[in-house]
Assembly symmetry: C2
Homo-oligomer: 206 residues x 2
């Protein structure tokens, strides 16, 4: 099956199922149901069944899902049964926080390189990383073969750095800068803009 055949909205929910299942697993649970998983993530059992059915038959009538098996399958589908090296560009507060973030290691990611363009920061240490000069983005990333980047530069610099990341062979960008990025077809961007998250909710406030 072609990857583009499955709606992105379904793909967007799989990491949330995976997180909830791993949480159950950490709590010692062995099996679950569409009802229980749905309740944990705020969706209906029917939605869970429909989404998972796109990828195969994971549950058994009457006994539900084997959590360890479903975790393995989702990790394979999302391609996080391996570990992806990730670069972080921009060593401000957010870049620092991400470089130190403990939540990546068992979810398929590892920060491998960090960049900044500030002479005061270049060559300095952030966690176990030496901050590389942003001028080296294209050569250093190309050499490494890294495909995933987290972008934490100011808004005004974000598109320029994005162009360099694309030139360097980056295929997936997690963007913390509060700006929509232009990228060529085939490059994925996800946005983590706290104001957007907040504005989605204020609509509903009385």
């Amino acid at each position: 099956m072609n990857k583009q055949d499955i709606p992105d909205i379904i793909i967007s929910r799989l990491p949330i199922y995976l997180r909830a299942l791993r949480h159950m697993q950490a709590g010692g649970k062995l099996t679950t149901s569409s009802q229980e998983l749905g309740a944990g993530v705020g969706l209906s059992a029917a939605q869970i069944r429909k989404d998972l059915s796109q990828f195969g038959e994971f549950g058994k009538q009457g006994t539900g899902y084997d959590i360890a098996f479903l975790v393995d399958q989702l990790r394979k589908i999302l391609r996080v049964e391996r570990v992806w090296d990730v670069v972080v560009v921009g060593m401000g507060d957010m870049g620092h926080a991400l470089s130190r973030y403990q939540g990546f290691s068992d979810r398929g990611f590892r920060v491998a390189m960090v960049f900044d363009n500030d002479p005061a920061k270049i060559g300095g240490q952030v966690e176990q990383f030496v901050v590389l000069d942003a001028k080296e983005i294209v050569t250093a990333i190309r050499k490494s073969g890294i495909k995933v980047a987290m972008l934490c530069v100011p808004e005004a610099a974000a598109q320029g750095v994005t162009n360099l990341l694309v030139e360097a062979g980056i295929k997936a960008i997690l963007n913390y800068a509060p700006i929509s990025l232009s990228v060529p077809t085939g490059i994925r961007v996800q946005y983590l803009d706290p104001s957007i998250g907040l504005q989605r909710m204020t609509y509903y406030l009385e």
Copy 2:
């Protein structure tokens, strides 16, 4: 019209339109079209028109959208024509970064209070804020009337703190902890989990 009548997926796109329109505005543009706005956010012109038509008739045949007018309308729809006070709970790296974040001020939000449960942090200063004791969450937030919170505590503490926030009258939670939260009906949660953002993209990587 009842707010629940408009699909949440449409609401979720409005802040992105607003961000793109304000970006155009900052660049000195006065008018735009569905085509141009769509290109800026990676959606079709038809999608833009369909989404906006849920709320009224904002464009003029032939001349497109008056950007300033559409910005005003979207800010009103999303209720960010006012400024919402926000609490930050958890003064680790992420909480610090959010407390110092410059991107909220003109987008409808202002950090007003910060909390932690670490005696070494309580009473200390983070930017202009004195870190309050997490034990005071319910009383301090109730007294202030604040409705919006950003949650930056470790995974193990997240549900417990969420229960306190709900008790304190918080109605919207931006959750940075990598865990799905259980909240009563009527409380909104948005998740900013970087691993989830990354896993949505690795599915598509070769």
